[in-house]
């Protein structure tokens, strides 16, 4: 008997015992559909997190140096930062670490009022270098970003985010208008393209960028940085660069070999791996639950198959008498389990894809079909059928045709 003939046989036997086939399928169906939903939604959530994270950090080919030892919670600002990271540190990183393409210096504050006529807002005020746009891959929709000349001349110019434009200039063109940051007047030179929501869900557009030199000398009156972003020539070199920057900074800050760093270096790549790790731990747990459901499905298949084998002793005897070998009987019963579990798996995938669609629509996530999950699901249902069908099938081959055919 060929495999194709066996499948046909299995199909017929299944359609003759629909209720039994249904019960055999249920476990696999539930397992596979939940697996598909979990995996697809998990993957979709992960992608969305990555996207938001990317919006926040801009590019991934950077390393970020912050003042202070240990990771600080939340965003550092001038009021919370230790005054240890200097402008000169950033310049030294740019000139002495061969792996670094360019460095941006950053000074930021969150609690400064910004006013235009009778309107006010409290965006993040961030002093950055003129290369910020290029380094982060951001764009302006109107006007032009400030230049190195503006940096040199401590120009009071500002680039505003979408949210600031909406808050301060709801119905007029903000370009060349003068707004006040604290008490200092700044001229709006450009509007940043919208970046949307960050990983926490908050807007990334509630921001004003000004030249970091101006920020330091004319606004904040501080000579230290809250952050330095160093862009790598080759993203693969991030570990080497971190090692070299660490050595350079320790030397510049005259840190004794036994003492801890007074700065923290992170790479967006590593931080993101951490963010997505949390998601995948959860989905792994849920995946375990789904797999248990499938194993229960498998056990149901096995027990119903065992009952079927004892009910069909006579049929087995007849088939043996007309020329079926043990192998033919084994094949027939294994294929029956396989066909049932595969069909359960396919239905499960259908249900799972439908469920995924609903969840994704409800949570407003990107629609992703996790093809590898579907492959895994199909593979798993085949394996379940095979593993749990094998024992009943083996039992079937051991039916003594002589005894089975006796009245």
């Amino acid at each position: 008997m060929g495999v194709l003939e066996g499948i046909r046989l299995a199909w017929r036997s299944m359609s003759r015992h629909r209720l039994r086939a249904f019960f055999m399928m249920v476990g696999v169906m539930v397992g596979i559909s939940s697996l598909t939903i979990l995996y697809s939604v998990g993957e979709s959530t992960k992608q969305e997190t990555i996207k938001r994270f990317k919006r926040m950090v801009g590019t991934f080919d950077t390393v970020i140096v912050r003042p202070g030892a240990g990771r600080m919670r939340g965003m550092i600002s001038l009021t919370t930062a230790e005054p240890t990271l200097k402008f000169e540190d950033a310049q030294a990183i740019a000139s002495e670490v061969a792996e670094i393409k360019q460095v941006a210096q950053v000074q930021n504050a969150f609690d400064i009022d910004v006013q235009y006529r009778d309107r006010a807002a409290t965006p993040a005020v961030v002093g950055v270098s003129a290369n910020w746009l290029d380094l982060r891959g951001d764009e302006v929709t109107e006007g032009a970003f400030f230049t190195n000349d503006d940096m040199q001349s401590l120009a009071r110019v500002a680039v505003i985010g979408m949210d600031v434009q909406k808050a301060l200039f709801p119905d007029e063109n903000p370009l060349d208008k003068t707004l006040r940051i604290g008490d200092v007047p700044f001229q709006v030179k450009a509007v940043l393209a919208s970046r949307g929501a960050g990983p926490g869900g908050g807007s990334l557009d509630n921001v004003i960028l000004i030249p970091v030199t101006t920020a330091s000398k004319r606004l904040f009156n501080r000579d230290y940085l809250t952050m330095t972003v160093a862009q790598l020539k080759d993203p693969e070199d991030s570990e080497t660069a971190i090692r070299k920057i660490t050595a350079l900074m320790r030397e510049r800050h005259r840190i004794a070999p036994s003492a801890l760093d007074d700065f923290t270096i992170t790479s967006p790549r590593a931080s993101m791996a951490q963010v997505t790790q949390v998601g995948s731990t959860l989905s792994k747990t849920l995946m375990g639950v789904a797999i248990i459901a499938m194993i229960i499905g498998g056990v149901v298949i096995m027990s119903l198959m065992l009952i079927a084998v004892s009910e069909r002793r006579k049929e087995i005897g007849v088939r043996r008498s007309v020329g079926a070998s043990r192998r033919d009987i084994l094949l027939q019963f294994v294929l029956e389990a396989l066909v049932v579990s595969s069909l359960g798996g396919l239905i499960g995938i259908g249900v799972g894809l439908g469920g995924t669609r609903i969840v994704i629509q409800l949570q407003n996530l990107p629609h992703i079909v996790a093809w590898d999950a579907l492959g895994l699901a199909v593979g798993l249902s085949v394996v379940i059928g095979l593993v749990f069908g094998l024992y009943p099938a083996w039992k079937a081959t051991n039916v003594d045709p002589v005894a089975a055919l006796r009245v």
């Binding site: 003939e5 007849v318 088939r319 007309v322 020329g323 009245v407």
Partner: protein, 224 residues
């Protein structure tokens, strides 16, 4: 056709004690014979039929079928022999439930060359007089009709040897007679028929009768 020499069959009971079902049995059947095997229950009738039908192998001795010694054959080899050379007819018909007459007849073809020839199955059902019953399920057929389906199933691979185990045991006398006529026709066509029975009326169709007693041959005589 059939050569059984010094065949013994010893079974083991559940508790391990051996039971001798056949003890040094020898006989030969020539192609085209119609033979009945009779004897009280426990005399070894079923055992010898199972060995003749390649469903079981002798503990010792040899069994040659059409010149081929099958005593030491593997399960697959025996299955091929059953498929091509032997047709079984049982007392309880043994049609597969929830399966039409036609599908029942097709089953042996699955294990033959693997090709199911529906036309051939229909022709054979016609041959046993069931042309109008091909789509019927076993439960929709009378006992005699079910047995004729079983005979059609036994014939589908065109075997030379038909083994029948009390084929009329579950039938009334009219239906039983029809079945015996059918078997007689098959014998006239040249097929060898070995039939196990208790029934004298059935035994009268055969030209030769082997009587088993206590696992050995009690008598072997021509009844023609």
């Amino acid at each position: 056709m059939i050569e059984v020499s010094h065949v013994s069959k010893v079974y083991r009971r559940g508790d391990g004690t051996p039971v001798t079902a056949l003890n040094d049995v020898s006989f030969a059947i020539v192609a085209g014979e119609f033979v009945t095997i009779r004897g009280p229950s426990g005399s070894g009738k079923s055992s010898i039929l199972n060995i003749l039908g390649c469903l079981d192998t002798p503990t010792s001795g040899t069994y040659r079928l059409e010149g081929e010694d099958v005593s030491g054959y593997s399960d697959r080899q025996l299955s091929r022999i059953r498929c091509r050379k032997i047709g079984f007819v049982f007392q309880s018909f043994n049609l597969i439930p929830r399966t039409t007459a036609l599908e029942n007849v097709e089953i042996p073809m699955i294990y033959g060359n693997g090709r199911v020839d529906r036309t051939k199955a229909t022709v054979v059902l016609q041959r046993v007089g069931l042309a109008d019953r091909t789509r019927h399920y076993g439960t929709e057929l009378s006992g005699g009709e079910q047995q004729r389906v079983a005979i059609a199933r036994a014939l589908i691979n065109d075997p030379h040897l038909i083994l029948a185990d009390e084929p009329t045991g579950n039938l009334d006398s009219v239906a039983g007679m029809e079945i015996m006529r059918l078997l007689q026709d098959l014998n006239t066509e040249g097929r060898t028929i070995v039939l196990v029975t208790h029934d004298d009326a059935v035994a009268s169709y055969a030209a030769r009768e082997i009587v088993l007693r206590d696992g050995g041959i009690g008598s072997d005589r021509s009844t023609a």
